[in-house]
């Protein structure tokens, strides 16, 4: 990617996702290419796409094209923690990166959490996902008090 290129950032709109947005998201979301679950986005939309109190699925649209998405939800007392907002999916079309798309989606998600009375935001990332890791840190997020552990069974 040419980091000096400046994508057109005019007329970016943030709104709730619609079923008709899913094909556009699939064109650039890496999960879609792994094809572990062809119904992944359909299921995500069914779980988070409605006008729900604790879940939010937003897209960023430019003209008629989807250039980014974010999904989050409020989780109550998970790990004994007071309610907090979780962002668990964020994607931006590669040619629109470094144009403020993720920042606007992130800001809209934070506003949703704040309006719901939640004052803490969390996410979890693959260690090798440097772009996402850098993005969340650029927004002021830092390592929290929990450490994720796992084991093959």
């Amino acid at each position: 990617m040419d980091i000096h290129a400046h994508p057109d950032t005019s007329s970016l709109d943030i709104r709730r996702a619609r079923l008709s947005d899913l094909p556009g998201i699939r064109t650039f979301d890496e999960r879609s290419n792994k094809d572990d679950n062809p119904h992944y986005w359909q299921e995500m939309f069914e779980r988070y796409g409605d006008d729900l109190e604790k879940q939010l699925f937003l897209v960023c649209e430019q003209g008629s094209e989807i250039v980014g998405f974010i999904i989050g939800e409020i989780r109550d007392w998970e790990f004994g923690s007071p309610p907090c907002g979780w962002i668990f999916a964020l994607g931006v079309r590669p040619d629109m990166r470094l144009a403020g798309v993720a920042t606007r989606l992130y800001a809209a998600m934070c506003e949703f959490f704040l309006k719901a009375g939640v004052g803490k935001l969390r996410t979890m990332l693959a260690r090798g996902d440097i772009d996402s890791h850098s993005f969340f840190r650029s927004q002021g997020m830092m390592a929290g008090p929990y450490i994720q552990l796992e084991k093959d069974l």
């Binding site: 260690r127 440097i130 890791h133 850098s134 840190r137 650029s138 002021g140 390592a143």
Partner: protein, 137 residues
């Protein structure tokens, strides 16, 4: 893990110059501000120039200015110029017949090294400048 003095000087210089709003600073100014040896700092500055993170400005009133991409360059880009980012002596250790103790320790220490690397790779110079601004308030 203790950062080497050269690494610290490199981080001081890069962050000082990246946060100067494009203004140049002389090696003497930076050395005085951070109370470090100007000779040592000058060697570090040359390495940073070769890496493309700084630009040397010649002539009267010359000095150095940040020339990297603050949104792309990370702490790792600076640190690894001066030292390996690993628990020293283990990741590169290749003994012909490692013991159970060595194998067990290697697993734990590699995990620590990977966490260090992931953290250093994810913090850009721009993020550091924001963090510094936040601490200033």
């Amino acid at each position: 893990m203790k950062l080497q003095q050269s690494t610290l000087l490199g981080l001081y210089a890069v962050l000082e110059l990246a946060g100067s709003g494009g203004e140049q600073r002389s090696a003497a100014e930076i050395a005085e501000k951070y109370s470090v040896s100007i000779n040592h700092l000058s060697k570090v500055l040359r390495i940073l120039v070769r890496a493309g993170l700084l630009q040397a400005v010649r002539g009267a009133g010359g000095g150095y200015r940040f020339s990297g991409n603050a949104k792309r360059a990370t702490l790792m880009d600076v640190v690894e110029l001066f030292e390996p980012v690993a628990i020293e002596g283990f990741e590169d250790r290749a003994t012909p017949h490692p013991t159970d103790v060595e194998n067990g320790l290697a697993v734990a220490l590699v995990e620590i090294s990977e966490m260090m690397r992931a953290t250093l790779r994810s913090i850009t110079i721009a993020t550091m400048l924001k963090l510094m601004e936040r601490e200033r308030r």
